[in-house]
Symmetry: C2
Subunit: 207 residues, 2 copies
């Protein structure tokens, strides 16, 4: 459950921050165009952090004070339900992630966040994000638009969960993220889909 970070690499990378953060800025532009001063504010307020495979970013009970952007790597959010571990989301390259409930409400998180691959992230604290939004209407708008998008994503997942069979959900997943199979253990994928590992194994045999 190490919270260890690659401080050497990290320092190396802080020096070339301006180069790297371009990927985050590029991604932000997909949501909404930003002026020079807003982009500078982003550059000044996000910080890079590196993690190892299997590192925990946070564990349940902690309060999430940061929003993260995943430049490279893979993360899962999971929680315990009656003694068993439920993975309820994955974040891939170019995703924002955090324990949203905790981040938004300031309450202790019910979920834990763990890296499944060595990862490069950018983070900003809630305080700073609020300040940035206050000072740059453009960023507030960007955030609003980002929430719209994330809302729609979630809505789609909800409909799938409630009205499609396990097999359909697995096929959808394969279709939308074919790479997922190589990168994530079956058990995590199963609980993400809301089924048991055994059932998923059987589904795969038939395909």
């Amino acid at each position: 459950m190490g919270l260890s970070r690659l401080s050497k690499e990290q320092n190396r990378c802080v020096n070339i921050k301006v180069i790297h953060i371009e990927k985050l800025l590029q991604h932000l532009r997909n949501y909404h165009q930003l002026g020079a001063s807003a982009e500078e504010a982003v550059t000044a307020n996000f910080e890079v952090l590196y993690f190892h495979r299997n590192d925990h970013l946070m564990v349940e009970g902690a309060t999430s004070r940061y929003m993260y952007f995943l430049e490279e790597g893979l993360v899962r959010g999971y929680y315990n339900l009656e003694g068993r571990e439920i993975t309820h989301w994955f974040a891939f390259e170019n995703d924002f992630f955090t324990s949203f409930h905790s981040f938004i409400t300031h309450q202790p998180a019910v979920e834990s966040l763990q890296f499944l691959e060595d990862s490069c992230t950018w983070r900003i604290s809630k305080d700073r994000l609020e300040r940035l939004c206050q000072n740059h209407h453009e960023l507030e708008r960007l955030l609003r638009i980002a929430y719209e998008k994330y809302y729609l994503r979630l809505e789609e997942r909800f409909v799938n969960a409630q009205f499609r069979s396990a097999t359909e959900r697995y096929q959808d997943l394969l279709h939308q993220m074919p790479h997922i199979i190589q990168r994530i253990p079956l058990g995590y994928i199963a609980s993400y889909l809301g089924i048991t590992q055994e059932t998923l194994s059987r589904i795969r045999r038939k395909l």
Copy 2:
């Protein structure tokens, strides 16, 4: 499938708009405090509309160009899945509603919206809402915060759908909205919970 409106009552109400819209403003203040000019802009840009029980606000295939606020009444959103009607949300007093996917993406909606009771709504077009947000940073912020809240609501529903039994979900619903039983036919509630009407009927017998 009447799209009829109560134009007489409506006109009467437009005259006393300033009194009525107070309820919308009051609700908005729960999300974020607004200055006088923002409140005036809201007052000037929302319009009141009345509907009858069973009226359709829109049917699948149409594109949702308005965001609605429900001052009084009851609405459901539903769609067809393999010939059967699935109610996937209800809006109650003080809820915002529309076909979110359609409203956000400008694409034709897959769902239809129907009033289950005589209702009083306030609406604003997407264009005007965008303009308001552009001119009033406060409103942009309010909208961002509203999306956060709606995101969390949906997340909770998603978790319930995927990991709780039908009985648990029904009990949760009873607990959170006890009035729902009196106001909504059993079949709608069942599909909202993701189960059949027969199953819900059996669950109720046992309680």
